[in-house]
Amino acid sequence: MSHGVKRTREAADVLAARREKERSKLQAYLELTDDVVARKRAAVFTQECFDLTTKLLGLNPELSSVWNYRRLILLNALFPNLSPEGTFSLLQSELNFTTGALKQYPKTYWIWNHRRWCLAKVPPGPEGAPVEKSWKRQVWARELFIVERMLDADARNFHAWNYRRYVLASDPGLRSPEDELAYTKKKIEASFSNFSAWHQRSKVYSALWEEGVSEDEVRQVKDAEFELVQQALYTDPGDQSAWLYHRWLIGNGDDTAVLKREIANIEELLAIEPDSKWCLESLVHYKRLLAARSQPDEAAQLSDLKKECNTMLSKLQTIDPKRKARYQELVL
């Protein structure tokens, strides 16, 4: 699979010249691959084999079987002769090896997997040492540091975000939920369109609220969150990320006071940006939620809401024609 590589057309002579130049490289690669596969098939587990996997994986980290072989060598030949200190040190050099590979191939699943496997193998460290000094804490703190550098390089790399969640779950003492909220906020403020950070923020709050927080507290937090979203919406009303998060905050709209307040806020933004698709789209959704919650004696209000939705839906068909069929279907 190639992504984002520009197409070039090689003339026959250029192609031939390139292949000629690559011939020795190809030969060496094939010989190394055959050698490693043969040793693996024969279940040879030695330092020499280990070094060959280092060489081969350096050339091609997509070879999952070679990562598997490398782990078998560690388990069968290298770990058994090592003290816990020695094992720890070897695992640290494994982690460094994968760090190098990830710099070059940040989206290769097998590299991330090998890293996770190494971390699970880290011995607990000297008995009686305080948590902060334990080997586990040392490695997890480093993992967090590395994955944050990777998110600095590509703030949307989902491998890195998934890995980050795994690091935090593995050592809950590393970061409090408050730290994590601060981190996601930093990411969001660096770029409002970083939906990965908004998503993570929704997960942190969901987990906190599941632990049993009063409705009042949730409302207070949400009010502050609505303000953060508002900033993003005013910065670029065409950016989906903040609108999605706004929808998460509203949820099913049971809090009709908040729902009405937010509708009013979006209508204010719409007055400034009359052709904002996302303002209209969100207003339709929220007014439909409100309509679904109207009481039997509010027939007039219900009829108004329906009319307003239908007017907005017909405008949406003009300003967002790609999704015209959806807007037509939503007309009441």
């Binding site: 197409r7 490289k25 070879l63 999952s64 939906f195």
Partner: protein, 324 residues
Amino acid sequence: MDTLLIEKHVKYIQSLGENTDDLMYHMTAHLRLNAIYWGLTALCIMGRPDALVKEDVIEFVMSCWDDDEGAFGAHPGHDAHILPTLSAIQILTIYDALDRADTKRIVTWVAARQNPTGSFSGDQWGETDTRFAYIAVQALELLGRLDAIDKDKAVAHINRCKNFDGGFGATEGAESHAGQIFVCTAALAILDRLEDIDQPTLAWWLAERQLPNGGLNGRPEKLEDVCYSFWVLSALSILHKLKWIDSEALVKFILSAQDPDGGGVADRPGDMVDVFHTCFGICGLSLLGYPGVHEINPIYCLPADVTRKKGLHMDYEVLGKDET
């Protein structure tokens, strides 16, 4: 480019096995079995299922069998993994040659990938991903042995990977991604549990993947890519909401990503082509009712005539034809 260059693409796919003196050919050995499945599926959809030598392909598939494990690797000598195992089963299904494989051992191996939480690992080393859940479910259904796993637990795990935006991620807590949405939606379709999906929300999110240039992205505020034509469209097709995007604009985008000289389809116009994007671009066109191509069944990403013959799930939408 306003037409699908079928002849060029057929030649391109046929030529893929001939580049054995190219380094890139060998560097992608880990995708070989998948690549054959992508190529063969694209050929079937273009109405040229005989463009590869059937017996050679089957022989190659069988050479990828990992007899220690009882499943397929991506290439001879590679370890078994659930990804190439599904490709092998799909290729053998298309060629009606499942009797060549030790399906009993495959069923045991695939079922053993289910974890106590209901999730599935890719191999004995334990990486979990909703892709593997879909693969296990499809593989077992193609082998007629969906009973070999705990279906309720599988469904419960997929549901735990669901997000507020209606989409699904790779693991619990992970961000929604069109590729993961395809696998989760299709797995739930096979497991007869589509009612577990928040369909209006998910279909809305999927429709919002379309960008002004007609192409589809895989997550909010990301770039378009031809492969999402299939991930997004397949889910919309299963939800019967294909009309929620502008199909004309998407057809144009896919066609513009063709290589008019060498054949094949790229991720974006002007980029290098590969068989992965060629397959998913053409499958996308099939769902959009592009004239002259055969029907793909998006639930399995297999030719519809193959799944019809096997009596598999056929409830999905294809544009321009009466709903199936």
